[in-house]
Amino acid sequence: MPLPAAPHFLLDQPYQKRDVLIRVGPEGANQGGRPPGLLLHWGQVHDEGVKGDAASGSQLAPLMASPGAARYERDKIGGHKEAASWIRRKAPSTHAEWDTTVDEAIVAQQLLGTAGLIVPTRLLAQADWPDGLQETLDAARRAAARHPTTDMSVNLILDERWIRDSRLRRTLLNQFTDLPEGIGAAVHIHWSAPDVPDRSASLEALRVVVSALAGDGRRVLLVEAGRLGWLAIAWGAWGFTAGLSGASWTRNTAVVRRAKGQPATRIARVFEPNLLQHVRQAVHTRLLGQSGYQPCPCGFCQRQAASGGWSHDLSGQHALYALSRLTEQVAAPTLQERRARIRIIVQNAINFEAGLSFRLTGDSRPMHLPEWLAQL
């Protein structure tokens, strides 16, 4: 099935609460919008779960599947159900092992009827420069020859140093763009800390990588990138995915760890499209009365308000819905127009914060916005 035109937002298939996630699809359609897509994860979910969600996630489009894994040699995922065949073996290293892994993963995607094919790889650490990258891309090159298709992407799972270090980044871009034309990149960066992606040096590095790949005519999907992936649409990214697990759906909750033996405390947070930022629940309540505030029309927010209590699931679903709507808002035929629309939304968020009658502080403050604007 061919992939649709940019831009696209996809949900990540988490191990837990998959049924909660899939409800975001119909909500988008109910509001007259386009439902998000779904990226299945063989590296995170057992084979039965991937196949089950592929069948039940039909309201989410496009449906794609990430076969790559940061860790191999796992018989079971979640302790009791079998991982996909290639995840159960050790990470490929010889030509024959690579080709077997790639072929099994591609056939599995074809059986699911996914839009486009993603070539599996493994996590590339700094020590994999340059031979590990070369081995991975050589496997992708052979895969493209064996499975000719117009919608093939390579799953690049990278330690952040691959994009931060100019020498590694240069090799990455030079070697990746040597692949046959049309092969895209499903880029999953393993950041060293949660707030690293919002720092200027990381943003700049990511901008260079996405711009170079997109400028070379490559489709770029940023896996588990959250709101940063939305920003990357301005640099030419085809799409992005939200992030895994109920605790990290675009970081809708912060977890405060207590002393050993004490339960962790989850801090209620709400994703505010007006600020492109998660804010604490109490801050969200204050924002509702502010001039220029645009309330979210989604059913998740309505149920949250009607319940009188607090549901982390509803907050997470709202965050996914909101990112999906933000992506729709910047859909335009040309990259120039998409970038202009993103710039307007970022500038509006800065203006909205500046016009508030109170100051945002701590983790509710959208400190990333000026950095974002500088990259547009």
Binding site: N174, Q175, D178, E181
Partner: protein, 116 residues
């Protein structure tokens, strides 16, 4: 390392693996030489008498300097469309250059425009 040193691309000077777009650079270097008698990272006076190793290092250091290739001087000797074509073919990094197929297309277009 295979090839003629003065025509080599930056990635070859760094002793990295050559890619298809390394050939695009070589074509650009050849065109530049035919049209101007200059090469992208060669200083005809300063490089005289250098050993191969010394020449490679001299060229390598120039690949990291923003004023090389010396477009300021070269542009005065080239038509604008040719200068733009060469700037693309001689991108410092392979990912900054067109693919072989696109490079051929750019050269064809430039030649077609010249023959009108």
């Amino acid at each position: 390392m295979l090839g003629t040193l003065p025509f080599m691309a930056p990635e070859q000077l760094r002793l990295e693996r050559a890619v298809r777009r390394t050939d695009v650079f070589a074509v650009g270097a050849l065109l530049l030489f035919v049209l101007t008698s200059e090469l992208p990272y060669i200083d005809n006076q300063a490089d005289q008498g250098l050993s191969s190793d010394a020449l490679r290092l001299a060229m390598l250091s120039r690949t990291e300097q923003p004023d090389w290739p010396r477009w300021g001087q070269l542009q005065a000797r080239l038509d604008q469309d040719v200068a733009e074509l060469l700037a693309q073919l001689l991108g410092t990094e392979p990912y900054e250059r067109p693919t072989v197929e696109r490079g051929i297309g750019l050269i064809d277009t430039a030649l077609a425009n010249r023959s009108r």
